[in-house]
């Protein structure tokens, strides 16, 4: 039987959840024994196989049209979709800009910020993705497994991947359940 394929990507996050994934240290070898680690932001292959993967993992919330594309692509190509970390699960720290609105946040960052000079300008290149309110992953696509945490513990990620790699659904509760 071929090993289950796992792919991951990141969106509006800080990459901390992937750093926490790497924090499982040598235990990642056990995961590689059990599963075929495909496209991730930290491997050469950048997009999940068109033929599909068994498990797709997404870090970060969805804050623009590019993130939306990533989310839809991962959903379409994964049997099981995992929301990894507080941003993917709840919206997280980036979602706090929803409190003031995207335009206000852009103005504060690009024009008003103390480090800007007089020429402050909000980027408006038409090639850029269109910004939106920050949304949790499950607001855009269906999610099968939620692993909250900022970031989730390496131990929890290891547990979840090991379960998924062996065809079981991880149960995130009790000592494995943390939002911080």
């Amino acid at each position: 039987m071929p090993k289950p394929k796992i792919s991951s990507d990141w969106m509006a996050g800080c990459s901390g959840c992937h750093m926490s994934l790497l924090d499982m240290d040598e235990r990642i070898l056990e995961i590689i024994e059990l599963a075929d680690l495909r496209a991730t932001p930290i491997t050469d292959l950048k997009e999940p196989d068109e033929s599909g993967v068994d498990v797709g993992i997404l870090e970060g919330g969805i804050n623009n049209s590019s993130n939306e594309e990533v989310a839809h692509r991962m959903r379409a190509r994964s049997k099981i979709l995992v929301a990894l970390g507080d941003c993917a699960v709840f919206g997280g720290v980036p979602a706090l800009r929803n409190m003031c609105g995207t335009q206000e946040a852009l103005r504060r960052a690009y024009i008003e910020a103390e480090s800007n000079d007089e020429s402050g300008k909000i980027p408006d290149d038409p090639e850029l993705a269109t910004m939106s309110n920050v949304r949790a992953l499950h607001e855009v696509v269906d999610v099968d497994v939620f692993i909250p945490g900022c970031p989730p513990d390496a131990d929890v990620i290891y547990y979840a991947l090991k379960e998924l790699a062996q065809g079981r659904m991880p149960e995130i509760k009790n000592e494995k359940l943390h939002w911080h």
């Binding site: 409190m99 909250p148 995130i172």
Partner: protein, 596 residues
């Protein structure tokens, strides 16, 4: 007794027990948020809903009285789903993003409640509305974005401190916790007791000093006694790396968690410079020296009966006893104590306050009175000086010079036949209307109490007996005694400074600050020894300085105003080279040849 079953387990409880209490008494966990064991049940959050056989819908256990034959289920799949929905709705109302919240980790009861229901995500996302953050208060911050409207703060403000500063405005999800009629907290009637912060289950009320200095699990806790005044409240001191992070009222102590600004926040204020080594004056300048030399120089000056001496009544009883043995071995123990019991305030329906401003001193004693006012407790304030409670009082009396109001009240009571004990009618009196009204109000009370400062005087004792303030069952004549161990100092006969003429002086301050009177009295003293934790105007002037521990560093016993002896446990380690006040005095006694 009431018999019911909870989760199939037969349980027997006292009448007037709620289903929640019945469950707790029997080790059955029902999740709660708005409930607090020391506050009146509110039934607001609905997290404690349970299923009761025969009842149409789940019902809040915190406000449901246990009844005979009741069959209660606390943890069915339907209830778990209800609780998850309730929590999800709470999370959706405001900003409950955990990663940057001070209480996230272990201290947030909202987060813990969510973990308890295995909530991994929010089905309903937040509504992204901004709520006001009030940073105007010197000691704490109110962030309405973190608030779940459980109203614990409101209940603590009313039921613990009797201050009624906190209330709410608006309705439903727009409800806001406000101070007074919506003024900033820093400009409100808040007395900074901090009880609201202590009971807040989320990060909505956080205290400026302790915020982000660590979760409770990172802190060391020590249960001890407040040295702020003679009430002697039980406190829990939270420390980290030998620093006090915060102080809470001890729920298990007699004050049941209520403390005041002096107990909670004053010890966190910046302290004066610490004295780290014994000092001796050499060529006009204080110079570090060894303990041996400093004690020898101090002992040289100490001549019982000839040395002016004063011990701070903030010192532990053991220190005061050692002080007494050296400086006042013949001190007469105080006459039989007439101390009332603070318990008498619990059900007092009329309280007479005589010559003390309970907003300025002994605030917790004041809270014990004020929180009963909504129950109809009457308040009479007699004070020649302007008193913070003049407006609060039902009757405020401003005696003129030499006027003995208690004597006039007693006379009215005798004359009008209102005394509780057999008495003679007494001479006819011409008390004015106010005093007559006060006398009648006080005499008609079922459980009257008196709070006074200083010498009670014969008239007050007489009034207390006539009105049943003091009888075989009650002792409601409560003296405000001043410092943490003033009662102990009085018992040992060392409550007043000893001033022989032409004397050298020994002043045991501990961590106290010298009063202007003390400084003035010691103006021309030829040789001055000061035992002190901190540098101050007196140590500047001293010839020998002995570095002492603070209240938080030394063990000891404190006798409070109603005669309760309580043990203080050290919460901090003193700097090297500093000794505890009792040891200093004991070694001094040996060095001076007074004890072996």
């Amino acid at each position: 007794m009431i018999n019911l079953t909870i989760n199939g387990k037969p349980i027997t409880v006292e009448p007037d027990t709620t289903v929640l209490s019945a469950a707790r008494q029997n080790g059955i966990h029902i999740p709660t948020l708005c409930d607090h064991p020391h506050l009146t049940p509110y039934g607001g959050c609905r997290l404690c809903v349970v299923e009761v056989k025969g009842m149409r819908v789940p019902i809040a256990a915190c406000t449901l009285p246990a009844a005979d034959g009741m069959s209660v289920e606390t943890d069915t799949p339907a209830l778990r789903e209800s609780r998850a929905t309730i929590l999800n709705l709470l999370f959706s109302e405001r900003n409950h993003f955990c990663p940057f919240c001070q209480v996230s980790g272990n201290d947030c009861q909202l987060q813990q409640a969510a973990y308890g229901q295995d909530i991994t995500h929010w089905d309903i996302q937040p509504q992204w509305k901004n709520f006001p953050v009030d940073t105007s208060h010197p000691h704490f911050i109110l962030d309405n974005n973190r608030c779940i409207l459980c109203r614990r703060c409101l209940r603590a403000c009313a039921e613990m401190s009797g201050n009624f500063t906190i209330s709410v405005e608006e309705r439903g999800a727009a409800t806001l916790i406000i101070a007074d009629n919506g003024v900033p907290f820093g400009e409100s009637t808040c007395v900074s007791c901090g009880s609201c912060v202590q009971v807040c289950p989320t990060g909505a009320l956080i205290d400026r000093q302790s915020a982000y200095l660590g979760q409770n699990t990172h802190l060391t806790t020590t249960k001890t006694v407040c040295a702020g005044c003679s009430v002697g409240c039980g406190i829990t001191v939270y420390t980290r790396d030998n620093r006090i992070v915060k102080i809470h009222g001890d729920w298990d102590a007699f004050n049941a968690g209520t403390i005041c600004k002096t107990g909670r926040f004053t010890p966190l204020e910046p302290a004066p410079a610490r004295i780290q080594s014994p000092l001796i004056r050499v060529a006009g300048k204080l110079t570090p020296t060894s303990w041996e030399e400093a004690l020898a120089a101090a002992a040289e000056a100490v001549k019982p009966g000839q040395t002016a001496a004063y011990a701070s009544p903030r010192l532990p009883l053991e220190s005061l006893r050692a002080f007494q043995q050296i400086f006042a071995p013949q001190a007469a123990p105080a006459a039989e104590s007439v101390d009332g019991k603070l318990d008498a305030l619990r059900n007092a329906d009329c309280v007479l306050i005589l010559g003390v401003d309970l907003a300025k001193t002994h605030e917790v004693l004041g809270f014990m009175v004020k929180r009963n006012l909504p129950k109809g407790t009457k308040l009479i304030v007699i004070d020649p000086a302007p008193n913070s409670w003049d407006e609060l009082a039902h009757i405020a009396i401003k005696p003129v010079a030499e006027q003995d109001v208690p004597a006039e009240m007693a006379a009215v009571i005798r004359q009008n036949g209102l005394a509780r004990i057999p008495t003679w009618p007494g001479a006819s009196v011409s008390a004015d209307e106010t005093i007559t009204a006060a006398a009648e109000m006080f005499a008609r009370a079922v459980a009257p109490a008196i709070v006074y400062a200083g010498d009670p005087g014969q008239a007050l004792l007489d009034l207390a007996k006539l009105t049943g303030v003091v009888d075989s069952e009650r002792s409601g004549l409560i003296p405000v005694k001043g410092a943490a161990n003033s009662a102990g100092a009085i018992q040992l006969g060392v409550d007043k400074a000893l001033w022989p003429e032409n004397a050298t002086a020994y002043i045991a301050l501990g961590d106290d600050i010298p009063s202007p009177e003390l400084l003035a009295a010691l103006e021309n003293i030829p040789f001055l020894v000061v035992q002190s934790a901190y540098e101050n105007a007196l140590t500047d002037r001293a010839d020998v300085v002995l570095p002492a521990m603070t209240w938080a560093e030394q063990p000891g016993t404190y006798l409070n105003l109603d005669g309760r002896a309580q043990t203080a446990t050290p919460s901090l380690t003193a700097p090297a080279g500093v000794r505890d006040n009792t040891s200093i005095l004991e070694i001094l006694a040996k060095t001076a040849g007074i004890t072996n």
